[in-house]
């Protein structure tokens, strides 16, 4: 072959080599038998950081870190000595050194080039840094995954689908199941039989069966595992069926999460929450927690009941949108938004209407508190509310009632006052109305500076104070008559009605008095009473007139005796037949008879005397005993037997004694008259005066005779004025007697006696018990 051809062939070979060296990413380094670098490819320049000119001629050991460098020098020396090159085998991993001194993993293949006079060697160097880093990363990832699975109690498993027993379990699956990692993975049927809780096996099987029918997708289930040592674990498994990328087969991949602790924590949490909820439900306020968007996060039973939703319905809903009318929502939203920005003005204490499910409005008074997280960020609001609907309605009614009362008080046509009654009634007026000012002739200012005592008639002060005491000791109201003084000193007769106003605890606050001017009525009554008294007086005279015979007899007896005694004395003294001692004895008898006559006169006068009405508690038996002498003389005068049947236990009556005695005497007089006019002699004439208790509140005084009684036809007129059967009677006795009884709150009635004769019955209310 010609030299040119040879040269030309060499050039072609060299240029190909150069292109190869340039193109290959690997570094190609050519060294001679002594280790000197003869060629250094661009790839080598990139890998090692040397340029070819600066490294060519240098020993290749420069490209190696310290331990490799010495080893390589010894390889070279041995090769020169023995010609053995032991390393020229498969590529091997070494450490290489860059120009900047850093080292990197490299894969080196060495080839021998037999050239004269000495062979040279060619090394192909591949930078393995990236691969090594990837491998390291993978290892780390696997390690991390394993650690993470262990920490998270998540295991993973994988296998062919449908199951054929070739299964992979991660270590954590073994741990969850309670086996040593690396043990043999049990086939699915054995796994189900050995580890799945009997109660959960059907569910597990069903889930996998469903997944099988679908052939793709997967499933999720939670079940219990029974470890070989008997401990129970809750596991959550998610699996999916995927196509194997290496072929058409299906594979199942899944994770197994040990959720035992989470379940326990959840149970504990639920328990805690239930307890809190129960507390919230029991507590007597509405509790609502909303997040910072106004969504309800918690609501207690009371709040739910007020709003007429279930708790579940409310959770998550916007409180304002759900529970406020459109009219109120705007303002509420504004306040809420401001609060979420930390401006609590007008928000912490807030009363607003809320809407129930049915659209009814309730007024709730909220106490709002911001909720913040650990960093102090506002996370929501806790609202504690009180339903004040009824309270507000009551307050409104109260205000209205108060206003009405004020008006009534001021404009009432009767006098009205209020007195403080908190402790003792000091009698100073808190307020007086116009009518009272007009009634008494004082100005309001004057009355307010005065006390009850200043304008009360002194004789009525006791009854006034007594009524106050009665009021304070439990009566709701008292009513009585009293007299006031006008400014000009004249007297007002008033009917007074005191009512006590107490607070919720029953403590007295004020006494409200209504004062009705009854002067006209009282004066008219007084006039009527005087009229009645005059009439009664005339009637008493009349009664005594009718008793004249009896009275005359009663006076005649002592007068006759006196006359007899004195005339006897005259005779005896005249005859010298009487000594001083005898005379004294007889004069004593005369004196006694004179007294006897005087007593009769005295009794008559007492009965006839005009008197003013005086009511007090009287014993009717005593009243009867007082007039008994008059009754007796009348009875005696008409040969009538008098019989008393007095019940000594009868309670007292509130009565004017003389008036009642007048009634009694009138009745006995009539009785005596009725019997003596019936002719015949005294046999069988009997007058009975009887007293007794009629019922708890009434006593009876009966006057019964054995006359002929009142003919039925006349009975209706019996109590009519001017009705009389007596020739000389005025016909006022019974009419007056009845009016007297009625003025005592009682009555007078006639009954025919069983065996002829009359019974007149007086019924009188008993006097109130005196303390």
């Amino acid at each position: 072959m010609p030299q040119d051809d040879i040269n030309s062939a060499e050039r072609v070979a060299e240029s190909r080599l150069a292109a190869l060296l340039n193109a290959t990413p690997d570094g190609i380094v050519l060294i001679d038998a002594y280790g000197r670098i003869e060629a250094f490819s661009p790839g080598a320049e990139r890998i090692f950081g040397y340029s070819a000119p600066e490294i060519i001629g240098q020993n290749v050991s420069r490209l190696m870190p310290a331990p490799f460098r010495q080893a390589h020098d010894s390889y070279i020396a041995r090769y020169q000595r023995t010609g053995e090159a032991r390393f020229m085998l498969a590529p091997r991993d070494v450490e290489a050194r860059r120009k900047d001194g850093s080292t990197f993993p490299a894969e080196v293949s060495v080839g021998r080039v037999d050239s004269e006079p000495m062979p040279s060697f060619i090394g192909i160097v591949r930078d393995n840094s990236a691969r090594r880093a990837a491998e390291d990363h993978l290892r780390r990832v696997e390690a991390n995954l394993s650690t993470a699975q262990a920490l998270a109690h998540v295991g993973s498993f994988e296998g062919r689908w449908p199951e054929d027993g070739e299964y992979f379990w991660s270590d954590e699956v073994f741990r969850i199941v309670g086996l040593e990692p690396g043990s043999a993975v049990p086939p699915p049927a054995e796994f189900a039989a050995r580890f799945v809780h009997p109660d959960d096996r059907a569910q597990v099987a069903a889930t996998f069966a469903a997944a099988m029918e679908e052939t793709s997708g997967g499933g999720e289930l939670e079940y219990r595992i029974v470890r070989p040592d008997g401990e129970l674990r809750n596991v959550h498994t998610i699996f999916q069926i995927v196509e194997d990328p290496r072929g058409g087969a299906l594979r199942m991949q899944g994770t197994m999460l040990d959720v035992t602790q989470r379940r326990e924590a959840e149970n504990a949490l639920r328990h805690e929450r239930d307890r809190a909820q129960r507390y919230l439900d029991v507590v007597d306020v509405l509790i609502i927690v909303v997040d910072c968007n106004g969504r309800i996060q918690l609501v207690n039973r009371m709040a739910a009941e007020l709003l007429r939703y279930s708790e579940a319905e409310l959770i998550g809903r916007d409180f304002i949108a759900t529970c406020q009318s459109a009219a109120d929502a705007g303002r509420s939203r504004e306040l809420f938004n401001r609060a979420m920005q930390g401006n609590l003005q007008g928000f912490e204490l807030l009363e607003e209407p809320v809407l129930t499910r049915e659209g009814h409005t309730r007024r709730v008074r909220w106490r709002n508190q911001l909720l913040r997280d650990d960093e102090g960020q506002i996370t929501g609001v806790l609202s504690a509310g009180e339903d004040v609907t009824e309270q507000r309605a009551t307050e409104a009614q109260l205000r209205q009632a108060e206003e009405e009362l004020r008006l009534i008080f001021r404009r009432a046509p009767v006098g009205m006052t209020t007195l403080a009654a908190a402790h003792e009634v000091d009698g100073h007026y808190l307020s007086v109305n116009e009518a009272l000012c007009n009634m008494l002739g004082y100005s309001e200012g004057e009355l307010l500076s005065m006390s009850v005592r200043d304008i009360t008639h002194p004789d009525d002060m006791d009854v006034t104070l007594q009524n106050f005491r009665e009021l304070l000791s439990g009566s709701d109201a008292v009513r009585y008559q009293k007299r006031y003084f006008r400014k000009d000193g004249s007297i007002v007769h008033a009917l007074v009605h005191h009512s006590l106003v107490s607070d919720a605890l029953g403590r007295p606050i004020i006494i409200i008095s209504q004062i009705l001017d009854r002067s006209d009525v009282v004066e008219a009554e007084l006039e009527a009473r005087q009229q009645r008294e005059r009439l009664a007086h005339v009637a008493r005279l009349g009664t005594l007139g009718e008793m004249a015979a009896g009275i005359a007899h009663e006076l005649n007896q002592p007068l006759t005796a006196i006359a007899n005694y004195t005339q006897a004395c005259q005779r005896l003294i005249g005859a010298g037949a009487m000594d001083a001692a005898e005379l004294g004895d007889v004069l004593g008898r005369v004196t006694a008879q004179a007294r006897r006559a005087g007593d009769v006169i005295h009794r008559l006068r007492a009965f006839v005397r005009r008197h003013t009405t005086e009511r007090r508690a009287r014993d009717v038996n005593e009243l009867i005993y007082e007039i008994l002498p008059l009754v007796e003389l009348d009875a005696r005068a008409h040969e009538v037997d008098l019989q008393l049947e007095l019940d000594e236990s009868v309670p007292s009556v509130q009565a004017d004694g003389v008036q009642l005695q007048q009634v009694l005497l009138n009745l006995t007089r009539n009785a005596v008259e009725a019997m003596s006019s019936s002719g015949g002699h005294g046999h069988g004439r009997r007058l009975v005066i009887r007293t007794g208790v009629r019922n708890e509140d009434e006593i009876e005084v009966a006057v019964q005779d054995t006359g002929e009684g009142v003919p039925a036809a006349l009975r209706a007129q019996l109590f009519e004025p001017f009705f009389t059967t007596k020739a000389e009677g005025m016909g006022l006795g019974l009419s007056l007697s009845r009016s007297i009884c009625e003025s005592h709150g009682g009555t007078l009635r006639y009954d025919a006696a069983e065996h002829g004769g009359s019974i007149f019955r007086i019924w009188l209310p008993t006097a109130p018990e005196e303390e």
Partner: protein, 207 residues
């Protein structure tokens, strides 16, 4: 001053009145006995007692009028003076009609009372004398034969002897003899006297 064997009986229910009456009558020399009621009096009284009765017209139990009636029924004619009060006049009048001596109204003067008691006792005495006369006449009548009593009966009727003889179927002379015997036995000094004695015997007040 009168002094008699007569007694004044006083019945009055009023103690002072009867006590003072008793004193008054005794001061006037009478024997007086007082009783508080009709029954007390009846218990103590003997119808043969001589005297008069001062009686309150009104009394509980047996009244004055009832006592008066009772005494009459037992044939006791003791003179009664009623004491009355005001207004008892109708009763007093009734009492007098029934034979009371009189009535006296309270109060009274002692003289009024003494006068009436005098009257009453006089009547009592008279009654007593009349009674004695009657008993005497009865004795004389007892001495007559049946025929004589028969003749006397005809004589006091004012019949002539001739008529009597015809009626009795005897001779006029016989009648005359009987008549003389009657006049003698009866100690009659005239026909009028005989008639009066027959009336007394029959307890008829002489006309």
């Amino acid at each position: 001053m009168a002094s008699h064997d007569a007694t004044v009986f006083i019945v009055d229910d009023d103690e002072a009145v009867r006590d003072s009456l008793g004193l008054l009558l005794r001061s006037a020399g009478y024997r007086a006995r007082v009783y508080g009621g009709a029954r007390d009096f009846l218990k103590a009284f003997d119808p043969r007692d001589h005297g008069c009765l001062v009686l309150d017209i009104r009394m509980p139990g047996m009244t004055g009028l009832e006592l008066q009636k009772h005494l009459q029924e037992i044939g006791c004619n003791i003179p009664i003076i009623f004491i009355t009060g005001h207004g008892d006049i109708p009763m007093a009048v009734e009492a007098v009609r029934q034979g009371a001596v009189d009535f006296i109204q309270k109060p009274f003067s002692d003289q009024e009372l003494m006068d009436r008691i005098g009257d009453a006792l006089e009547q009592a005495t008279r009654q007593r004398e009349g009674e004695l006369e009657r008993l005497d006449i009865m004795d004389r009548m007892g001495s007559l034969t049946a025929r004589e009593r028969e003749v006397m009966g005809q004589v006091v009727q004012g019949k002539a002897n001739k008529v009597i003889a015809a009626d009795l179927g005897v001779s006029q002379r016989t009648v005359e003899i009987h008549r003389a015997r009657v006049m003698e036995k009866m100690q009659a000094n005239s026909l009028a006297h005989l008639v009066r004695m027959v009336m007394v015997s029959e307890n008829q007040p002489p006309g």
